[in-house]
Symmetry: C2
Subunit: 293 residues, 2 copies
């Protein structure tokens, strides 16, 4: 376990360095937007999505440096989505990662533009030519991330989430929503790790697809449970927001005990999938325990 924790620490610090390098510099003469972009991205967050890019690619023998751009890109997309989700017209949150949300630290207009510019930067990074990836691989990653971010993925899920507020729901609808809202980007992270490996086998694709599918759903249910059970210091954001916004979450609809059982079930399913990986998947397995407890 200590080796895994060491790995996490190293990768997280590596990701922070890369994000810092790729974000526009916040010089005193520069656009304030640059500063707001750095504020929204740096110095916080679990970095789950970039970690998944690394863990997937590395399990398949891909070099770390070939994974740097997709890892940064997916984290920028995630960060942009948090900035926009926190806006007053959306979930109206004041606290994120233990700091005031972007529109609180700056203003709403800056927060809208910050999210917009972070999304552009994500695709800008993936469009960089690098000797470590073929142009076809970069395009494939771009396509994967764009589809996962858009109306058939994350943004579509967020729209469903807003519509669902205050309405009766059931486990099936909620799972469908979670697969879009949270699952799409988590699957894209794993898929980009797979794309970096030119000749991944059908077995490996199926195993990692199942892993990502289970993790995405489990992670969102776990997040909902935290929103009910945890405190502001642990969360870094204000708990109880789902209830305040009348969001039909999995624990709200199924009960907290069933929700916890479902997380455990999905965690086991995800681990079982790794048995078919034909590659060292132990760190991917340990990541499940790390993020779901």
């Amino acid at each position: 376990v200590s080796t895994f924790n060491e790995y996490l620490k190293n990768r997280c610090s590596h990701i922070e360095t890369l994000l810092d390098r790729h974000l526009p510099p916040a010089l005193p003469t520069a656009n304030q937007l640059h500063e707001a972009m750095r504020y929204a991205v740096l110095g916080g967050g679990k970095r789950l999505r970039p970690l998944l890019v690394y863990l997937t690619g590395e399990a398949l023998g891909v070099r770390v440096e070939a994974l740097d751009l997709p890892a940064c890109a997916v984290e920028l997309i995630h960060a942009y989505s948090l900035v926009h989700d926190d806006l007053p017209a959306m979930d109206n949150d004041d606290l994120r990662r233990g700091k005031p949300t972007c529109h609180k630290a700056y203003d709403e207009a800056t927060a809208i533009l910050t999210g917009d510019a972070l999304q552009s930067l994500a695709f800008d990074l993936l469009a960089k030519t690098t000797p470590l990836l073929s142009a076809e691989q970069s395009l494939h990653m771009l396509k994967t991330l764009a589809v996962a971010s858009g109306s058939s993925g994350m943004a579509g899920g967020q729209a469903l989430d807003l519509l669902a507020a205050g309405r009766p729901s059931d486990a099936t609808s909620i799972e469908r929503l979670y697969h879009l809202k949270t699952g799409a980007l988590i699957r894209a992270s794993v898929d980009m790790g797979l794309i970096a490996k030119q000749d991944a086998t059908t077995n490996q694709k199926a195993a990692l697809g199942e892993y990502a599918h289970c993790l995405g759903l489990a992670f969102q249910i776990h997040d909902d449970i935290q929103d009910i059970e945890s405190d502001v210091a642990t969360l870094g954001k204000t708990p109880g927001n789902d209830q305040k916004n009348q969001k039909p979450t999995y624990p709200a609809v199924m009960g907290i005990t069933a929700a916890k059982a479902q997380v455990r079930l999905l965690q086991h399913q995800a681990k079982a999938a790794l048995f078919c990986l034909d590659a060292p998947g132990n760190y991917l397995g340990q990541l499940l325990d790390h993020v779901l407890t």
Copy 2:
């Protein structure tokens, strides 16, 4: 002139067909977000940016079909920027292209997500593999569009524009702001047309770069003049918004006569640049008259 008008009509109808095809369908069971995306993009607009992609590429002998994806992509980016710019926290406009703005027709949350999803879709389209463009060309276009959209381009310009409201300004600052806010995407349109031509000459790149530079600036100043002099029926949006938002526009700072003279000067400069094109640039020239009068 009638041939040029015929060309414009044909290309605009072609663009409309393509956008309709690439936007997600608004089935009764589909996400409302799809409908809002279609509302924000279809049935209106001058289509200046996609026209520039076609006019540039076609002047250099590129086949129309090789220009379809970049033409759609840049229009989606433009449409997303209008949806976000119109939001209450930004320019707070109620009318756009003769219809209620997206947040008026739907709501603010939907408008934010609509813009977000349109941006993703733009990059999704450019990441499509097509036999008409090499993967390297597609990546180069993606990079061009992403940089032009982001914090060093359009979004950066919009941030400066908001900061500039209510403050004294001068022609130099305003021109710098316009080159980002409006010019970046217009230059990207021309650049994508150039990228579609594998072996454009240095002369051609320089000539079209100068053309795009002048057109971008002239177009924004012309737009400012319209905002002062035109009526709601002609504009399709509420006039006088710049004054209401205390925007330091070129005509506000330099006077309307100087602003008009500047548009004419830039129009001549852009036409002069076309003399060095070594290719039939007459339609590019006629486009200037079409959009600047």
